[in-house]
């Protein structure tokens, strides 16, 4: 409908406007000098770069307002490089804008679709090629080739199999066993209940078995445990969970049940544990029940007691897998 209505006319590409540098040779000379100055500034900056590289010690610090103490070597090296590049760019653009011809040019477009004759020719050639290969007639070749090509694609998948072992029950186990002492991290000192004041938090790991002096990070990633001491009457636990605490000391896996970050922020006033990654919040008094955020499960609680020497030990291994969820977790 709108096609019959007369639309406003296209006035065409506006006439080219001459620049000051196109009419006035003096302005052009001035522009040339400006471009040259920019290029010279770049050259000077490279000299600064080389000078900084060799003659400013990496130990020199200088005070720059707003930025504070800065390493002079790094700063001047960087400034030298930055300005040597920047001035080349500014020079080139200024040159282009003031001195190079800026007449707008009109080029024509053509539709991408090939002419019908070409398309027919193409289809014919493709069909002839297929016919010459006998794809249509020799279905035995076609099918067996399909099978071969389909199967050969499987090989790389098999080759990737040895990237790692199968998980087995690795995700479900930790190093904690009945009687394993809790030791400080760092320091590896066993802990007595009286070492912890009320309100205190301690990061612990299972004591290394005799003869070992090194923990792989993959063990720490499952074994890290947080000890928190409250007044016993502050707990709001069922009898079983209460029996897992010792004199107000409660132990949780430090590995977040959401995505495995270390749950390291403890708010003493509210007795909340907060994971800094996704802000899941756990209530210590209620066995780390999730009270906010995306985590769906409480932090697993480690049952603790003391051994005959009075040091804190695990009563039993964790009763459930620690860390983030996985498909077979509850199987």
């Amino acid at each position: 409908m709108s096609k019959e209505i007369e639309v406003i006319q296209d006035p065409g590409v506006p006439a080219h406007k001459l620049r000051q540098t196109d009419i006035d040779p003096k302005a052009a000379d001035r522009a040339e000098r400006q471009v040259a100055i920019l290029f010279l500034l770049s050259a000077l900056s490279t000299v600064l770069f080389i000078y900084s590289y060799f003659f400013i010690s990496t130990e020199t610090f200088i005070f720059i307002p707003l930025m504070g103490e800065q390493n002079a070597h790094q700063l001047f090296l960087g400034l030298g490089l930055a300005f040597s590049l920047l001035f080349i760019g500014l020079g080139a653009v200024h040159w282009a804008k003031t001195l190079m011809p800026d007449n707008e040019v009109i080029a024509h477009r053509h539709e991408f679709r090939s002419p019908d004759s070409d398309r027919e020719e193409f289809v014919k050639t493709a069909k002839e090629g297929a016919a010459a290969a006998g794809l249509g007639r020799r279905s035995l070749i076609k099918r067996s080739m399909g099978l071969a090509l389909g199967l050969v694609g499987l090989s790389p998948i098999f080759l990737l199999r040895d990237l790692g072992p199968t998980p087995g029950d690795d995700l479900k186990k930790t190093s904690w066993k009945a009687g394993t002492r809790l030791v400080t991290d760092p320091g590896d000192r066993p802990i007595k209940p009286e070492d912890l004041e009320i309100g205190a938090v301690a990061q612990t790991l299972p004591e290394l078995p005799a003869g070992k002096d090194h923990r792989p990070l993959s063990d720490i990633g499952k074994d890290a445990v947080l000890l928190i001491r409250l007044r016993p009457e502050e707990f709001n636990l069922d009898a079983e969970r209460l029996s897992w605490t010792y004199q107000g000391i409660i132990a949780f896996s430090k590995i977040c049940s959401h995505m495995g970050c270390a749950v390291a922020l403890y708010e003493q006033q509210t007795k909340h544990l907060l994971c800094p990654c996704h802000q899941s919040t756990f209530d210590v008094t209620r066995a780390a029940k999730v009270i906010f955020g995306p985590a769906a499960r409480p932090l697993p609680q480690l049952a603790i007691t003391v051994d005959e020497e009075g040091y804190l030990v695990a009563q039993a291994p964790f009763s459930e897998p620690v860390g983030p969820s996985f498909w077979e977790r509850s199987a």
């Binding site: 209505i5 007369e6 639309v7 406003i8 296209d10 006035p11 065409g12 590409v13 506006p14 590289y53 990496t58 700063l75 090296l77 960087g78 930055a82 300005f83 040597s84 590049l85 920047l86 760019g89 500014l90 080139a92 653009v93 040159w95 282009a96 190079m100 040019v105 080029a107 477009r109 991408f112 990737l160 199999r161 990237l163 790692g164 072992p165 199968t166 998980p167 690795d170 990070l217 993959s218 720490i220 990633g221 890290a224 959401h258 995505m259 970050c261 270390a262 390291a264 922020l265 800094p276 802000q279 995306p294 985590a295 860390g323 983030p324 969820s325 996985f326 498909w327 077979e328 509850s330």
Partner: protein, 528 residues
């Protein structure tokens, strides 16, 4: 003929006799490129990529991609004697011992942020101006591929130093893999060569980061640019610009000088940032250990929206037939991003289906003249922005003394409520702007000059706008929504009625517009 001309001639002759390049060069050295500031966004992305290749190669000379434990003996006193991975120790070495090493690390990181920002803004430009329409759908899909790979490449890159912050990021990535139904724990063990973190992961992602992905990038960028070259650049509407031409500057010399100069400017600005703006000071974070964390853990900005989605997820983790399904991870971490990116990649085809328009388009749309598309873009942006804000909810909470729980609830509700509002508001705004354009063409520009009429009445003098401006405001095509017949010529209902009803609704919404002024309208005004 001067000596210089003779040498140049000889070289050209030598090359041409062996390649026949002259014919191609003759045609392409004068290739016309339309000029507009927004066409430089893709250039910034391209140049940042070159900077990344250069600075990255430098870093590989000293970086040791190994998780073998070493004791740090370098010059940074606070970490002396600490056990750490060789990857972290060598990154400290690059930062403190190698001259220019810290500068290059910072240039590399800044270039990565600029690369991603340029890609995103370039994508928005292409989307809002309709540059993805036929014949450029392939390039749109390649662009989405580059964006996706860029996010992965950036994540792998900042994970390499194995510091406490990036190690936490890897831990989260591992949890996402582990959450996959059925195969999750197996894939995680394969990827990490055993239990997290193991000793295999960093060497593996190093190969992916410096070889596999850059190779794919190089290939995709080459195709992307070849298509731009071959299909010729789109242009903004204006006097003399049509679907059948390109108005702009020739490649030689002016465009070459401008684009080449711009490369140096981008490199210079990145180097300036690397010189004065500290980024990712890994020595402050310490080496990674799974039992520790730094407060305010934040990914780089292009991952922030993903983290924000994960943070706002409700705690749903059903156990089905004895198997755990971590929907609180899968939905925000994989399903929503999957839908977003698939939808984005398919958008050109969806719009084509709605409009039924199968013609080539080389003139860009002014966003107001495509209200539905612009509104959809604003809606998606709002969604992403809320996710991004929530990704920084802890930082916002501490800096503005707000409750983190309230920010989280704002995001949870806002991400559902605000995008549709953004859609409606943007669509109305576009239609209002169309109306304003119409008024401007019909009634002219307000001059601010008041005159008193003989009757004593004051009126403001309006001046007609220039023919160029009038053309710009009316050049766009306004077509009626796609007509879909419910019945065929013999009165039989067509199959797929529901599909065509849906399509019709979309088509009507898409074609909503304010009629542009015509010559007849102008004449009628003159009569008054």
């Amino acid at each position: 003929m001067s000596a210089r001309e003779r040498i140049a001639g000889n070289v050209a002759n030598y090359v041409d006799e062996r390649t026949g390049a002259a014919a191609w060069m003759k045609k392409n050295l004068n290739k016309v490129f339309p000029d507009h500031w927004s066409f430089m966004l893709g250039e910034i992305a391209l140049y940042s990529f070159v900077i990344l290749l250069l600075s990255g190669t430098f870093l590989t000379f000293w970086f040791d991609p190994s998780m073998r434990e070493v004791v740090y003996e370098g010059s940074y006193a606070p970490l002396k004697g600490l056990e750490m991975s060789a990857a972290y120790a060598s990154t400290l070495n690059i930062s403190f011992e190698v001259r220019g090493g810290l500068l290059m690390r910072q240039i590399h990181h800044w270039a990565a942020l600029i690369f991603m920002a340029a890609i995103v803004v370039h994508l928005l430009r292409v989307f809002f101006t309709g540059a993805f329409r036929k014949p450029r759908e392939f390039n749109w899909i390649i662009g989405i591929g580059l964006l996706t790979l860029g996010i992965v490449e950036g994540f792998l890159g900042y994970s390499l130093p194995d510091d406490l912050l990036s190690g936490t990021g890897i831990r989260i990535a591992e949890a996402i893999i582990q959450a996959l139904p059925l195969v999750g724990s197996y894939l995680a063990f394969f990827a990490f060569g055993g239990a997290f973190p193991g000793e295999a992961f960093i060497p593996r992602i190093y190969t992916v980061h410096i070889l596999l992905l850059p190779g794919i990038f190089l290939a995709l960028i080459t195709v992307h640019l070849m298509l731009v070259w071959y299909q010729k650049h789109t242009q903004y509407p204006g006097p003399g610009r049509t679907e059948k031409n390109v108005v702009g500057y020739p490649l030689l010399p002016i465009y070459m000088a401008k684009a080449g100069g711009f490369f140096f400017i981008v490199f210079g600005v990145t180097a300036l940032l690397g010189a004065v703006a500290s980024i990712n000071p890994i020595w402050l974070y310490g080496p990674y250990t799974p039992g520790q964390i730094s407060a305010g853990s934040q990914p780089d900005w292009y991952m922030g929206w993903l983290d924000g989605l994960v943070r706002m997820s409700p705690p749903i983790e059903p156990v089905i037939f004895g198997y755990t399904l971590s929907l609180n991870i899968l939905i925000p971490g994989l399903i929503i991003p999957g839908i977003l990116f698939t939808g984005m990649a398919l958008y050109p085809f969806i719009e084509q289906w709605i409009t039924g328009d199968k013609r080539e388009h080389h003139l860009l749309d002014r966003p107001r003249n495509a209200p539905n598309r612009t509104a959809l873009g604003a809606m998606s942006l709002t969604f992403m922005l809320i996710a991004l804000i929530n990704g920084g909810n802890d930082i916002i909470a501490t800096n503005f003394h707000l409750s983190i729980n309230q920010i989280m609830w704002f995001s949870r509700i806002g991400i559902i409520v605000l995008p549709p509002i953004a859609f409606i508001v943007t669509k109305r705004l576009c239609l209002s702007l169309q109306r304003a354009d119409r008024d401007l063409v019909l009634h002219g520009r307000e001059t601010g000059r008041l005159v008193m009429m003989p009757s004593g009445e004051f009126v403001e003098v309006h001046e007609p706008i220039s023919p160029e401006k009038a053309w710009l405001l009316t050049q766009h095509e306004q077509s009626a929504p796609l007509e879909l017949e419910e019945k065929d010529a013999r009165g039989v209902r067509r199959p797929g009625l529901l599909k065509s009803k849906v399509r019709k609704r979309f088509a009507v919404a898409h074609a909503e517009q304010v009629a542009k002024p015509t010559v007849a309208d102008l004449k009628e005004i003159e009569h008054h």
